[in-house]
Subunit: 168 residues, 2 copies
Amino acid sequence: MPRTDYSDFACSVARSLEVMGQWWTPLILRDLYLGVDTFDDLVADLGISRSLLTRRLGDLVADGLVRREVYGERDDRYRYLLEPSGRDLIPVLAALAAWGDRWQTPAGGAPLLFEHEGHECVPTVGCSTCSQPVTVETLVPVPGPGARAARGTAVVAARPLRTQSTEG
Amino acid sequence: MPRTDYSDFACSVARSLEVMGQWWTPLILRDLYLGVDTFDDLVADLGISRSLLTRRLGDLVADGLVRREVYGERDDRYRYLLEPSGRDLIPVLAALAAWGDRWQTPAGGAPLLFEHEGHECVPTVGCSTCSQPVTVETLVPVPGPGARAARGTAVVAARPLRTQSTEG
DNA sequence: CGCCTGGGTTCTGTAACTGAACTCATGTAG
DNA sequence: CTACATGAGTTCAGTTACAGAACCCAGGCG
Protein backbone atom coordinates (compact mmCIF):
# COMPACT_ATOMS: atom_id res chain seq x y z
CA MET A 1 0.00 0.00 0.00
CA PRO A 2 1.33 3.43 -0.86
CA ARG A 3 2.12 5.98 1.75
CA THR A 4 -1.07 7.69 2.91
CA ASP A 5 -2.20 10.52 0.64
CA TYR A 6 -2.78 13.64 2.75
CA SER A 7 -4.68 15.62 0.13
CA ASP A 8 -8.15 14.74 1.42
CA PHE A 9 -7.40 15.65 5.01
CA ALA A 10 -9.39 18.51 6.52
CA CYS A 11 -6.12 20.03 7.67
CA SER A 12 -3.92 22.65 6.03
CA VAL A 13 -0.79 21.26 7.62
CA ALA A 14 -1.53 17.95 5.91
CA ARG A 15 -2.12 19.57 2.53
CA SER A 16 1.09 21.55 2.86
CA LEU A 17 2.99 18.40 3.73
CA GLU A 18 1.51 16.66 0.71
CA VAL A 19 3.56 18.95 -1.57
CA MET A 20 6.60 19.76 0.59
CA GLY A 21 6.66 17.12 3.32
CA GLN A 22 8.45 14.36 1.40
CA TRP A 23 11.91 13.35 2.52
CA TRP A 24 14.45 15.78 0.92
CA THR A 25 11.90 18.23 -0.49
CA PRO A 26 12.42 21.02 2.09
CA LEU A 27 16.18 20.70 1.68
CA ILE A 28 15.87 20.96 -2.09
CA LEU A 29 13.83 24.16 -1.68
CA ARG A 30 16.41 25.51 0.75
CA ASP A 31 19.19 24.85 -1.75
CA LEU A 32 17.27 26.50 -4.57
CA TYR A 33 16.87 29.56 -2.34
CA LEU A 34 20.62 29.56 -1.64
CA GLY A 35 21.35 29.43 -5.36
CA VAL A 36 22.26 25.75 -5.65
CA ASP A 37 19.96 25.25 -8.59
CA THR A 38 21.33 22.72 -11.09
CA PHE A 39 20.83 18.97 -10.98
CA ASP A 40 24.45 18.03 -10.39
CA ASP A 41 25.01 20.77 -7.82
CA LEU A 42 22.01 19.53 -5.84
CA VAL A 43 23.36 15.98 -5.95
CA ALA A 44 26.79 17.20 -4.81
CA ASP A 45 25.45 19.44 -2.04
CA LEU A 46 22.85 17.14 -0.57
CA GLY A 47 24.09 13.67 -1.45
CA ILE A 48 20.61 12.73 -2.62
CA SER A 49 20.39 9.87 -5.11
CA ARG A 50 19.96 11.00 -8.71
CA SER A 51 16.86 8.91 -9.28
CA LEU A 52 15.09 10.39 -6.29
CA LEU A 53 16.13 13.94 -7.16
CA THR A 54 14.61 13.47 -10.61
CA ARG A 55 11.28 12.57 -9.06
CA ARG A 56 11.36 15.28 -6.38
CA LEU A 57 12.12 18.04 -8.89
CA GLY A 58 9.44 16.70 -11.22
CA ASP A 59 6.87 16.75 -8.41
CA LEU A 60 7.85 20.28 -7.36
CA VAL A 61 7.49 21.49 -10.95
CA ALA A 62 4.15 19.68 -11.32
CA ASP A 63 2.90 21.28 -8.09
CA GLY A 64 3.99 24.74 -9.25
CA LEU A 65 6.52 25.48 -6.50
CA VAL A 66 9.44 25.36 -8.94
CA ARG A 67 10.01 25.90 -12.65
CA ARG A 68 12.73 24.52 -14.91
CA GLU A 69 14.57 26.92 -17.18
CA VAL A 70 17.26 26.52 -19.84
CA TYR A 71 20.49 28.40 -19.14
CA GLY A 72 23.62 28.99 -21.22
CA GLU A 73 23.88 28.36 -24.93
CA ARG A 74 22.87 24.72 -25.09
CA ASP A 75 19.23 23.84 -24.79
CA ASP A 76 19.75 20.83 -22.51
CA ARG A 77 21.25 22.56 -19.49
CA TYR A 78 18.66 23.40 -16.86
CA ARG A 79 18.36 25.49 -13.76
CA TYR A 80 15.53 25.16 -11.25
CA LEU A 81 13.93 28.36 -9.99
CA LEU A 82 11.45 29.03 -7.19
CA GLU A 83 7.98 30.12 -8.24
CA PRO A 84 5.93 32.46 -6.00
CA SER A 85 4.47 29.62 -3.91
CA GLY A 86 7.93 28.15 -3.43
CA ARG A 87 9.39 31.53 -2.53
CA ASP A 88 6.60 32.05 0.01
CA LEU A 89 7.63 28.85 1.74
CA ILE A 90 11.20 29.99 2.42
CA PRO A 91 10.35 32.12 5.49
CA VAL A 92 8.58 29.11 6.99
CA LEU A 93 11.68 26.99 6.41
CA ALA A 94 13.74 29.77 7.97
CA ALA A 95 11.50 29.66 11.06
CA LEU A 96 11.99 25.91 11.14
CA ALA A 97 15.74 26.38 10.96
CA ALA A 98 15.54 28.82 13.87
CA TRP A 99 13.64 26.18 15.85
CA GLY A 100 16.41 23.70 15.04
CA ASP A 101 19.04 26.17 16.21
CA ARG A 102 17.18 26.56 19.51
CA TRP A 103 16.34 22.93 20.26
CA GLN A 104 18.69 20.79 18.19
CA THR A 105 21.75 23.00 18.50
CA PRO A 106 24.69 21.59 16.58
CA ALA A 107 28.22 21.46 17.92
CA GLY A 108 29.87 24.73 16.93
CA GLY A 109 26.64 26.73 16.73
CA ALA A 110 24.27 27.62 13.93
CA PRO A 111 25.66 26.91 10.45
CA LEU A 112 23.55 29.65 8.87
CA LEU A 113 22.11 32.88 10.26
CA PHE A 114 19.92 35.56 8.75
CA GLU A 115 19.91 39.29 8.36
CA HIS A 116 16.94 41.48 7.48
CA GLU A 117 17.47 45.01 6.18
CA GLY A 118 20.91 45.19 7.72
CA HIS A 119 20.12 43.89 11.18
CA GLU A 120 20.27 40.50 12.79
CA CYS A 121 17.12 38.46 12.31
CA VAL A 122 15.78 35.34 13.98
CA PRO A 123 12.78 34.30 11.87
CA THR A 124 9.88 34.25 14.32
CA VAL A 125 6.21 33.41 13.82
CA GLY A 126 4.00 36.39 14.60
CA CYS A 127 0.45 37.63 14.23
CA SER A 128 -0.58 39.29 10.97
CA THR A 129 -2.79 41.77 12.82
CA CYS A 130 -0.65 42.95 15.73
CA SER A 131 2.83 41.75 14.66
CA GLN A 132 3.50 40.29 18.10
CA PRO A 133 5.13 36.83 18.29
CA VAL A 134 2.60 34.04 18.77
CA THR A 135 3.06 31.12 21.14
CA VAL A 136 1.05 27.99 21.88
CA GLU A 137 -0.49 29.82 24.83
CA THR A 138 -1.72 32.81 22.84
CA LEU A 139 -2.71 31.03 19.62
CA VAL A 140 -6.35 29.96 19.66
CA PRO A 141 -7.64 27.59 16.96
CA VAL A 142 -11.16 28.23 15.65
CA PRO A 143 -13.10 26.22 13.05
CA GLY A 144 -12.87 27.76 9.57
CA PRO A 145 -15.36 27.75 6.69
CA GLY A 146 -13.97 24.45 5.40
CA ALA A 147 -14.27 22.60 8.71
CA ARG A 148 -15.75 19.13 8.32
CA ALA A 149 -15.54 15.67 9.86
CA ALA A 150 -12.81 14.06 7.81
CA ARG A 151 -9.48 12.41 8.27
CA GLY A 152 -7.42 14.85 10.29
CA THR A 153 -10.45 16.14 12.17
CA ALA A 154 -12.50 13.03 12.83
CA VAL A 155 -12.09 13.33 16.58
CA VAL A 156 -11.73 17.11 16.69
CA ALA A 157 -15.02 17.66 14.86
CA ALA A 158 -16.91 15.56 17.41
CA ARG A 159 -16.16 17.82 20.37
CA PRO A 160 -15.42 21.45 21.16
CA LEU A 161 -11.84 22.60 20.54
CA ARG A 162 -9.70 22.32 23.64
CA THR A 163 -5.99 22.75 23.19
CA GLN A 164 -3.24 21.51 25.46
CA SER A 165 -2.70 25.09 26.60
CA THR A 166 -6.24 25.63 27.80
CA GLU A 167 -7.12 22.25 29.22
CA GLY A 168 -6.29 21.01 32.72
CA MET B 1 19.83 1.08 3.01
CA PRO B 2 18.07 3.21 5.58
CA ARG B 3 16.68 6.57 4.75
CA THR B 4 19.45 9.18 4.87
CA ASP B 5 20.18 10.41 8.38
CA TYR B 6 20.07 14.22 8.39
CA SER B 7 21.70 14.71 11.78
CA ASP B 8 25.20 15.35 10.43
CA PHE B 9 24.11 17.95 7.90
CA ALA B 10 25.48 21.45 8.36
CA CYS B 11 21.91 22.74 8.08
CA SER B 12 19.38 23.55 10.77
CA VAL B 13 16.47 22.74 8.49
CA ALA B 14 17.89 19.24 8.12
CA ARG B 15 18.38 18.77 11.84
CA SER B 16 14.83 19.98 12.50
CA LEU B 17 13.50 17.56 9.91
CA GLU B 18 15.43 14.73 11.52
CA VAL B 19 13.13 14.94 14.57
CA MET B 20 9.87 16.25 13.07
CA GLY B 21 10.12 15.64 9.33
CA GLN B 22 8.99 12.01 9.27
CA TRP B 23 5.72 11.19 7.58
CA TRP B 24 2.87 11.77 10.13
CA THR B 25 5.01 13.44 12.81
CA PRO B 26 3.86 17.05 12.21
CA LEU B 27 0.24 15.87 12.15
CA ILE B 28 0.70 14.03 15.44
CA LEU B 29 2.11 17.23 17.00
CA ARG B 30 -0.81 19.20 15.59
CA ASP B 31 -3.27 16.75 17.13
CA LEU B 32 -1.53 16.87 20.50
CA TYR B 33 -1.81 20.67 20.39
CA LEU B 34 -5.54 20.37 19.60
CA GLY B 35 -6.02 18.06 22.58
CA VAL B 36 -6.23 14.75 20.70
CA ASP B 37 -3.71 13.13 22.98
CA THR B 38 -4.46 9.43 23.55
CA PHE B 39 -3.29 6.54 21.39
CA ASP B 40 -6.71 5.45 20.15
CA ASP B 41 -7.89 9.02 19.54
CA LEU B 42 -4.84 9.66 17.38
CA VAL B 43 -5.51 6.49 15.40
CA ALA B 44 -9.16 7.48 14.96
CA ASP B 45 -8.42 11.08 14.00
CA LEU B 46 -5.51 10.52 11.64
CA GLY B 47 -6.06 7.00 10.36
CA ILE B 48 -2.40 6.22 10.99
CA SER B 49 -1.53 2.57 11.45
CA ARG B 50 -1.13 1.55 15.09
CA SER B 51 2.31 0.08 14.58
CA LEU B 52 3.65 3.28 13.04
CA LEU B 53 2.02 5.48 15.69
CA THR B 54 3.78 3.43 18.37
CA ARG B 55 7.13 4.17 16.78
CA ARG B 56 6.43 7.85 16.08
CA LEU B 57 5.31 8.55 19.64
CA GLY B 58 8.31 6.66 20.97
CA ASP B 59 10.65 8.73 18.82
CA LEU B 60 9.00 11.99 19.88
CA VAL B 61 9.34 11.04 23.55
CA ALA B 62 12.97 9.97 23.02
CA ASP B 63 13.72 13.30 21.32
CA GLY B 64 12.09 15.24 24.14
CA LEU B 65 9.31 16.93 22.15
CA VAL B 66 6.59 14.94 23.93
CA ARG B 67 6.15 13.18 27.27
CA ARG B 68 3.86 10.32 28.21
CA GLU B 69 1.74 10.63 31.32
CA VAL B 70 -0.68 8.33 33.15
CA TYR B 71 -4.22 9.66 33.43
CA GLY B 72 -7.31 8.44 35.28
CA GLU B 73 -7.26 5.76 37.96
CA ARG B 74 -5.62 2.90 36.09
CA ASP B 75 -1.90 2.99 35.59
CA ASP B 76 -1.95 1.73 32.00
CA ARG B 77 -3.89 4.58 30.39
CA TYR B 78 -1.63 7.21 28.86
CA ARG B 79 -1.89 10.70 27.48
CA TYR B 80 0.80 12.37 25.39
CA LEU B 81 1.70 15.96 26.22
CA LEU B 82 3.86 18.52 24.42
CA GLU B 83 7.13 19.45 26.08
CA PRO B 84 8.60 22.96 25.65
CA SER B 85 10.42 22.10 22.42
CA GLY B 86 7.26 20.55 21.02
CA ARG B 87 5.16 23.53 22.08
CA ASP B 88 7.65 25.87 20.42
CA LEU B 89 7.15 24.06 17.14
CA ILE B 90 3.39 24.70 17.01
CA PRO B 91 3.68 28.30 15.70
CA VAL B 92 5.88 27.02 12.88
CA LEU B 93 3.25 24.41 12.00
CA ALA B 94 0.63 27.17 12.14
CA ALA B 95 2.68 29.22 9.65
CA LEU B 96 2.89 26.12 7.46
CA ALA B 97 -0.89 25.72 7.67
CA ALA B 98 -1.29 29.35 6.62
CA TRP B 99 0.93 28.66 3.62
CA GLY B 100 -1.28 25.70 2.76
CA ASP B 101 -4.38 27.88 3.02
CA ARG B 102 -2.82 30.37 0.59
CA TRP B 103 -1.38 28.01 -1.99
CA GLN B 104 -3.16 24.69 -1.61
CA THR B 105 -6.58 26.10 -0.80
CA PRO B 106 -9.10 23.35 -0.14
CA ALA B 107 -12.64 23.34 -1.53
CA GLY B 108 -14.78 25.13 1.02
CA GLY B 109 -11.99 27.22 2.46
CA ALA B 110 -9.66 26.83 5.42
CA PRO B 111 -10.68 24.06 7.84
CA LEU B 112 -9.02 25.78 10.78
CA LEU B 113 -8.26 29.44 11.50
CA PHE B 114 -6.51 31.17 14.39
CA GLU B 115 -7.16 33.99 16.79
CA HIS B 116 -4.60 35.80 18.91
CA GLU B 117 -5.69 37.84 21.91
CA GLY B 118 -9.18 38.21 20.55
CA HIS B 119 -8.36 39.26 16.99
CA GLU B 120 -8.00 37.35 13.76
CA CYS B 121 -4.49 36.01 13.21
CA VAL B 122 -2.70 34.67 10.16
CA PRO B 123 0.55 33.18 11.49
CA THR B 124 3.27 35.03 9.59
CA VAL B 125 7.06 34.76 9.75
CA GLY B 126 8.62 38.00 10.89
CA CYS B 127 11.92 39.44 12.08
CA SER B 128 12.81 39.15 15.77
CA THR B 129 14.42 42.59 15.75
CA CYS B 130 11.95 44.79 13.87
CA SER B 131 8.81 42.58 13.89
CA GLN B 132 8.22 43.20 10.18
CA PRO B 133 7.24 40.21 8.02
CA VAL B 134 10.21 38.68 6.21
CA THR B 135 10.16 37.54 2.59
CA VAL B 136 12.65 35.79 0.33
CA GLU B 137 13.66 39.20 -0.99
CA THR B 138 14.44 40.74 2.40
CA LEU B 139 15.91 37.68 4.11
CA VAL B 140 19.69 37.50 3.70
CA PRO B 141 21.54 34.31 4.68
CA VAL B 142 24.95 34.73 6.32
CA PRO B 143 27.35 32.01 7.47
CA GLY B 144 27.04 31.27 11.20
CA PRO B 145 29.66 30.11 13.72
CA GLY B 146 28.94 26.46 12.86
CA ALA B 147 29.40 26.87 9.11
CA ARG B 148 31.52 24.09 7.58
CA ALA B 149 31.87 22.14 4.37
CA ALA B 150 29.56 19.18 5.01
CA ARG B 151 26.57 17.53 3.51
CA GLY B 152 24.00 20.24 3.08
CA THR B 153 26.63 22.88 2.43
CA ALA B 154 29.16 21.11 0.24
CA VAL B 155 28.49 23.37 -2.71
CA VAL B 156 27.48 26.45 -0.74
CA ALA B 157 30.71 26.43 1.29
CA ALA B 158 32.81 26.49 -1.87
CA ARG B 159 31.49 29.82 -3.12
CA PRO B 160 30.04 33.09 -1.79
CA LEU B 161 26.37 33.02 -0.83
CA ARG B 162 24.13 34.15 -3.66
CA THR B 163 20.44 33.57 -3.26
CA GLN B 164 17.83 33.33 -5.97
CA SER B 165 16.60 36.78 -4.97
CA THR B 166 19.90 38.53 -5.46
CA GLU B 167 21.26 36.75 -8.51
CA GLY B 168 20.24 37.21 -12.18
C1' DC C 1 40.65 9.26 -29.36
C1' DG C 2 39.70 9.57 -24.69
C1' DC C 3 37.97 12.19 -20.93
C1' DC C 4 34.98 15.69 -18.68
C1' DT C 5 30.39 17.96 -17.80
C1' DG C 6 25.42 18.08 -17.23
C1' DG C 7 21.22 15.75 -16.82
C1' DG C 8 19.28 12.30 -16.44
C1' DT C 9 17.53 6.57 -16.58
C1' DT C 10 17.85 1.79 -15.07
C1' DC C 11 18.69 -1.58 -11.81
C1' DT C 12 19.03 -4.08 -7.28
C1' DG C 13 18.44 -4.41 -2.74
C1' DT C 14 16.85 -2.82 1.94
C1' DA C 15 13.98 -0.20 4.94
C1' DA C 16 9.57 2.16 5.72
C1' DC C 17 4.76 2.18 5.69
C1' DT C 18 -0.11 0.10 5.39
C1' DG C 19 -3.69 -2.54 7.13
C1' DA C 20 -5.53 -6.22 9.35
C1' DA C 21 -5.48 -9.45 13.05
C1' DC C 22 -4.16 -10.43 17.53
C1' DT C 23 -3.00 -9.80 22.75
C1' DC C 24 -3.98 -8.48 27.40
C1' DA C 25 -6.17 -6.27 31.33
C1' DT C 26 -10.11 -4.23 33.12
C1' DG C 27 -14.86 -2.66 33.23
C1' DT C 28 -19.81 -3.23 32.22
C1' DA C 29 -24.35 -4.69 30.29
C1' DG C 30 -27.43 -8.48 29.91
C1' DC D 1 -21.05 -15.36 34.23
C1' DT D 2 -20.81 -14.69 29.57
C1' DA D 3 -20.40 -11.17 25.99
C1' DC D 4 -18.80 -7.08 24.53
C1' DA D 5 -16.31 -2.61 24.89
C1' DT D 6 -12.10 0.30 25.89
C1' DG D 7 -7.24 1.53 25.79
C1' DA D 8 -2.75 0.57 24.47
C1' DG D 9 -0.28 -1.60 22.16
C1' DT D 10 2.33 -6.06 19.24
C1' DT D 11 2.86 -9.11 15.29
C1' DC D 12 2.82 -10.11 10.60
C1' DA D 13 2.36 -10.02 5.40
C1' DG D 14 2.50 -7.31 1.46
C1' DT D 15 3.80 -3.15 -1.12
C1' DT D 16 6.22 1.13 -1.74
C1' DA D 17 9.90 4.37 -1.23
C1' DC D 18 14.57 5.21 -0.99
C1' DA D 19 19.87 4.43 -1.41
C1' DG D 20 23.55 3.71 -4.18
C1' DA D 21 25.83 2.29 -8.02
C1' DA D 22 26.11 1.73 -12.89
C1' DC D 23 24.90 3.21 -17.20
C1' DC D 24 23.49 6.39 -21.28
C1' DC D 25 23.83 10.36 -24.37
C1' DA D 26 25.22 14.79 -26.33
C1' DG D 27 28.65 18.14 -26.77
C1' DG D 28 33.22 20.30 -25.81
C1' DC D 29 38.20 19.92 -24.94
C1' DG D 30 43.14 18.38 -25.39
